[in-house]
């Protein structure tokens, strides 16, 4: 039986107030992740995947309205005052960004920065905190951690910097780690090292991981569950096998078909999804994917007039897709 989720998000809405009006970046998504498990949130630019994670962390700018529930171990985070949130953020729930260089302060040694993250949440001496930092740097695989801890971010390679950021995120033993495209800026051999490190950390500490990624290869490898986002909504969700072997939403299938693969000889052409992802809020009624969907003709008017809700699909349990096409679409229409 599945363990009780440590992070639960219900009906999350994020709306930005801009000069051009209200922009609904996330329009009602649900997800949860259990200890030691990995949830991948997949989507293209503007799908709302990064905004969702920032909303969970309470890191959105002041012009963002967040509605819905974010429960960390049953405790509501939405609407929590700043000082309360700061006690949780970086302690129970931590974030790893894509760009390690901008996540680190160039003026301080990496050991100091990791130690600072620890001292914010623990009443310890600077020396003790630094020792803890060195242990974490060692744990994430930085060679000669005791000496390297005194070095500055620019003295590390991209992969090593990402390790430092992961060490900083893990220094307080968080229950949930949110990793927003953690390997996108890295070379593929280094990516393999970092993904292995994250897996080791999960096995050892039982950390729940929310992985935000556009790389379906990485997702297939590490995720237990997947949420596919499109235009601020959930297009499909289910186990990783549901998505890769029983994809029910035309968008998910389109993504799988559009992805070139390294492991099989090339097919003649990649299947494509016409057009490009919509800007948030531009689709007012009906299915947001409808203008690019190859199946809309078979369903007819409903795709334009009626917003599809997530409905159960055959699979390993909680497989759901938001599509009026009841049966599964075929490949390559």
């Amino acid at each position: 039986m599945a363990e009780r989720p440590v992070l639960e998000v219900h009906d999350l809405h994020v709306t930005f107030r801009t000069e051009g009006g209200l922009v609904p970046a996330v329009a009602g998504i649900d997800f949860s992740v259990a200890p030691g498990k990995t949830l991948a949130i997949v989507g293209e630019s503007g799908s709302g995947k990064s905004v969702s994670s920032a909303a969970v962390m309470g890191l959105l700018p002041s012009n963002a309205d967040v509605k819905g529930e974010v429960l960390l171990d049953g405790r509501e985070l939405v609407g929590l005052p700043g000082d309360e949130l700061r006690k949780i953020r970086g302690n129970d729930i931590a974030l790893v960004f894509q760009d390690a260089l901008s996540a680190l302060n160039p003026y301080y040694s990496v050991g100091w920065q990791v130690a600072e993250a620890y001292r914010l949440h623990h009443d310890v001496s600077k020396k003790e905190a630094f020792q803890r930092a060195v242990r974490m740097l060692d744990l994430v695989g930085i060679p000669a951690a005791a000496q390297r801890a005194k070095d500055y971010p620019h003295e590390f390679s991209g992969g090593m910097r990402q390790r430092v950021v992961i060490a900083m995120a893990l220094v307080n033993d968080p229950k949930v780690l949110i990793a927003d495209e953690p390997t996108t800026a890295l070379d593929v051999t280094v990516q393999a090292q970092i993904m292995r490190l994250l897996e080791d950390v999960q096995t050892e500490f039982g950390t729940a991981l929310v992985l935000i990624s556009h790389d379906l290869g990485v997702v297939a490898e590490v995720a237990d569950d997947v949420l596919v986002m499109y235009a601020g909504r959930a297009a499909e969700r289910g186990s990783v096998k549901d998505l890769f072997y029983r994809a029910a939403h035309p968008y998910s299938l389109g993504l799988l078909g559009a992805m070139p693969r390294v492991d099989v000889p090339p097919r003649h052409r990649l299947t494509t999804i016409p057009g490009s992802p919509p800007s948030p809020g531009s689709v007012k009624t009906g299915c947001p994917f409808q203008p690019r969907c190859a199946y809309t003709e078979r369903v007819g008017e409903r795709c334009i007039t009626e917003r599809p809700e997530l409905t159960p699909r055959p699979g390993e349990g909680n497989h759901e897709a938001a599509c009026h096409l009841g049966r599964r679409p075929e490949v390559a229409p």
Partner: protein, 340 residues
């Protein structure tokens, strides 16, 4: 002069590019050996994939090939003509044969010029005034329409902007397009559109490509031949199908095994390399890969291995201990067998 075959569009002989670092007078002068002795040939009708990690010198090689950079040593020939010493105006006829498509269409298109003006520039550089019909023809080749001529780059999506970049490169009817990471800034669904467009243009116009990319899956989709770079040198090259199915160089093998495959639960033998790429300022003696290689022995540190044929034919690797020609088990069933 050596005899040059007709179908060689591009030939690099022993090309090197060292960027000198600004060092103070009392310091020993240093240079980044970005490209360190490369022979490279592209034949008519061929798509050559050039892969490697950051700092491998693949983009520098692309810029040397298009003569955007001057080589420190070696010779660059385009369509049989030695163009190494050509400068300025005298390069213009060469530029008609070889054009470049850049990674970031946002940065490579002038935001203050309309698409029409952007597409007119390459014609004018050749002393031609294009007709509107010619511009529309260019746009239609890349899947855009006449109505787009008056618009500005910010009015387009990333994929459309890359199409404009490709149209601009096609204006002078080149034989060879050098594409530096043409799809890495694009979303997956849009990336596939651009890759298919490149394939269509090849069929319709008989183009040849050098495709520089870090994404081995993207390159596999389109390349006929593959060259793998590491620290300024080519460590393996050959027919793409062969290099992908039985890589001979330990680096190629490790690189391919590191690419994640969209098969949940697939069990793969992964060679995880330790450490980082050494600095190109002071590359290791002998084989540049030896410091991270799982097969390295003493001989690797003494002399640099040269590209030598493996298993006969066109497939060559620069390694003293190449892998036997056996296919790598990469994964389970292909995508086509998965969906109903």
């Amino acid at each position: 002069m050596t005899e040059v075959q007709n179908d060689e569009l591009l030939r690099l002989d022993g090309v090197k590019k060292y960027f000198s670092l600004g060092t103070a007078p009392w310091q020993k002068s240093q240079s980044v050996k970005a490209v360190d002795g490369i022979d490279f040939v592209v034949r008519r009708g061929e798509t050559v994939g050039l892969v490697g990690e950051s700092g491998s010198g693949k983009s520098t090689l692309a810029r040397l090939a298009t003569r955007l950079l001057d080589p420190t040593a070696g010779k660059v020939s385009i369509a049989g003509q030695d163009v190494t010493k050509l400068r300025g105006r005298r390069l213009r006829p060469v530029r008609r044969k070889i054009q470049m498509v850049f990674q970031d269409p946002q940065a490579s298109l002038n935001p203050r010029q309309s698409v029409g003006t952007i597409l007119t520039t390459p014609f004018r550089a050749q002393g031609i005034r294009p007709t509107r019909a010619q511009l529309v023809e260019l746009l239609s080749q890349v899947g855009l329409a006449e109505e787009h001529l008056e618009r500005y780059p910010h009015e387009f999506s990333g994929g459309q902007r890359q199409r404009i970049g490709i149209a601009r490169a096609l204006a002078v009817k080149p034989d060879l397009l050098v594409c530096d990471e043409p799809v890495s800034a694009l979303d997956v669904s849009v990336q596939a559109q651009v890759l298919n467009l490149l394939a269509d243009l090849k069929d319709d116009l008989g183009l040849s490509y050098v495709l520089v990319a870090h994404d081995l899956a993207v390159v596999r989709q389109v390349a006929d031949r593959l060259a793998v770079m590491y620290l300024g040198t080519i460590v393996e090259e050959g027919p793409a199908a062969e290099v992908y199915s039985s890589p001979a160089h330990p680096y190629t093998r490790a690189l391919l095994s590191a690419v994640p495959v969209p098969e949940p639960g697939a069990i793969r033998e992964r060679i995880v390399l330790t450490g980082d790429v050494p600095t190109p300022i002071d590359p290791p003696s002998g084989c540049p890969f030896r410091t991270r290689c799982y097969k390295a022995e003493d001989v690797c540190a003494t002399t640099r291995p040269v590209l030598e044929p493996v298993a006969g034919g066109d497939h060559r690797a620069a390694c003293y201990f190449p892998e036997p020609p056996a296919p790598v088990e990469l994964s389970n069933p292909p995508l086509s067998e998965r969906t109903p």
